[in-house]
Symmetry: C4
Subunit: 245 residues, 4 copies
């Protein structure tokens, strides 16, 4: 392997495989999280542990191929940190979104009679607590994206970054920051959009989609704040934006 | 130790010890998983945690001697990835199968009055949900074998591969991908065959064996797909099969 | 990044950023721990797991910037071990205390109707078991600070020190060393002071503050003993104080 | 630190400090495990998790000073593997035994009214299932000591050995290998002797001590088998005993 690193890398390896890695990783992530939410009935820390440990092994496996994001807002965070080009980010975005749908559809096909619909994921949200619901996505996403940027973009820290990211997801899963909302903490629009598509019919009709945007706006706001914090405060060396005097 | 590496390695170390490592590792794996399934009554994530953490420490301990598979389909995956020779794979296969039987027999001898029989492992399967049951083994095995191949055959990733493999088992244990089947997620024919032999008499007579093949066909299908994915997409350098133009 | 290490580091990076890292880390720590205590209802090991895993990822992320303390008594321990200057320690102290208040206020704002007040954190303490309560903070803090000093001040051990510190917190959370006190094990005055300020009004009026000092005196005593043990017994090389003959 | 390694090491550092490390580590281990057994009421995997994670952080902290055993049978295993001299092993033995008593006494003093006595540790053993009880200690100890020897005496594996040892303890805790015995899985005579001394008066009078030897004989048998397996099969290079032809 070492001696091959110098040779020219094929387009497949540099362009196509990263997208496939994001696609397959997103299928795995979404299907495990959905099946886990059904099978463990969301008790205690279980959902967070399943989500977090899945990210750990996916990042170890696919991290060097694609970055190991499986999450549109992490993709955005890296793009804002100038690590990812915009065309690549766009390809990743679609790979993640479609992967999320495929993963959730797989679970729905496996548990056809599940009476939950998708309520095990979305709790009793999208009614009159929109701001709270959005904060409940924004703040954990802020913590997650900040952890991702700080621990993966510094060589010294990359060694333990899969654990740091996974553990931040585990603990963020209990901090949904809103007492009137007890659903799953996504911090990932692909992870919330996939099941939303797969379970859209049986569950709650139009109401369901009416409020779905909170799972996009919340993580987006969190990511923007995390990216600003990273670029102005925590980025290393020349990656940090210095305020001119 | 360092200076001895250059000297010629004995046949014991190169041929016999790997098989003994697989044999003893498979005994440890099967007996811990079976005893754990009895003692924790399969609640929540416990079974997966026990199975996963056992694999972590066994891989750390025996990984460099035998590869640390303890699983016939992982053995097959490595053989398909051209890492393991066929005679070695055959020896490993028998070491794993016999190890699994010994481990399960040890547990049955320790818990002679356990009224469970083996139902704590096999759930209410093998009736009319054969396809679902097979998928419930095939899909998690696909995820596991893909993780094993990607993380152990790349030097950079080998460092954290025991954790990646262990965590993938923990989370796969909740994704049995079938709501009518609530048994254990084996992803390992040695782990399902061992208790099947040890508990064959008291539990369900002929019915028991009639459907046992799902625990072989399911993981085999998952492994074949994972190996194809690995060889054509995720393998590094010359190990990847390039489609000729 | 490597080549930049030689260049002169700005005052922002050497003086301001560490304090910001402690401030933001303390907000994250306090808000996750408080929200976790509310959401998981303090069952079993959950509180300790949340607290411990949060410390793991915060130390991986911020460890090289500020040291990753987020805890006034760890700050004190490092100062006593001659690693931290007194002015820096004072700045850290205020960053941690204010961070703890901000984090707890964030949680109170998110869970406004929580009837718990702060009882999920403080148990049924501060009545007639003052000495026991103080020991229940002093002994786990001793274990934590000793672990922190030993594992972070030796290069060889620093690699796994985030896990060592996190795991010591997880297990210390069950050793509150007093059967008449079943509250949270803080081992961190910033973590106990923040919620005390944020929840002071609704909960227990004057009684509440009357006994708050136990959460300062306990950890302080534990830290002093740990620092002595470290300096006289476990410190490496010239950092250890030798008793003249 | 680096430059000091060449200078002559004081007797304190080479002889006294290792014993102090074993003594203090054994106090921490025993008190955390006992308090954990009381506070979590031994549900599910909790006891094993507490025991295992404590060993992880103690080994990371004290491993390079004393080896990080805190367990007379691990001490024996190392002595049989020719790593530890007999005088050192004897000193370690007493440090571990006395440390275990001090740790358990500390817990008893903290929970004076605990009605459990020590039954939360010893289950309903020592009646008519002596052989089973002994196997319930011997087999997990065999697995633990084999893991310890293999992962710590090979430089390559030492990196992850604290995790391997901790995880093997977690999973061994559910494999007590006897259905008529549901007590704690000690795998460590210092950990069983300490609470036995501290709780001897209130609990079960003479009966209590009559069967205490199972917690010594069981682990001893397991250690002997593990040491033989290690020395004849799994030891590296010259440490392995070769059967002359």
């Amino acid at each position: 392997m070492e001696e091959e690193k110098i040779t020219n890398i094929s387009i497949f390896e540099s362009k196509v495989r990263p997208i496939l890695a994001e696609f397959i990783g997103s299928i795995i992530l979404t299907s495990i999280v959905c099946a886990g939410a059904i099978n463990t009935l969301s008790s205690g820390l279980n959902n967070g542990v399943i989500y977090g440990l899945t990210m750990v092994f996916l990042i170890i496996a696919f991290g060097d191929m694609s970055g190991g994001y499986f999450n549109p807002v992490i993709t955005l965070g890296y793009t804002l940190a100038r690590v990812l080009s915009i065309p690549q980010a766009v390809c990743y975005f679609f790979a993640q979104i479609i992967g999320g749908i495929v993963g959730a559809a797989l679970v729905r096909a496996s548990y056809p009679e599940s009476e939950f619909g998708g309520s095990w994921l979305y709790g009793s949200l999208w009614k009159d607590v929109l701001l709270e619901a959005m904060l409940a996505e924004a703040i954990p996403t802020l913590i997650l994206v900040l952890t991702v940027l700080i621990t993966t973009l510094d060589k010294e820290k990359r060694r333990l970054s899969p654990l740091a990211i996974g553990f931040s997801i585990i603990v963020c899963s209990v901090t949904s920051y809103s007492e009137r909302r007890r659903g799953f903490t996504f911090m990932n629009p692909a992870l919330s959009f996939g099941p939303a598509v797969a379970y859209s019919t049986p569950y709650d009709g139009g109401e369901f989609w009416k409020y779905h945007y909170v799972y996009w706006v919340g993580p987006l706001v969190g990511t923007l704040v995390a990216s600003l914090l990273y670029r102005f405060v925590f980025a290393l060396g020349s990656r940090r934006i210095r305020i001119p005097k």
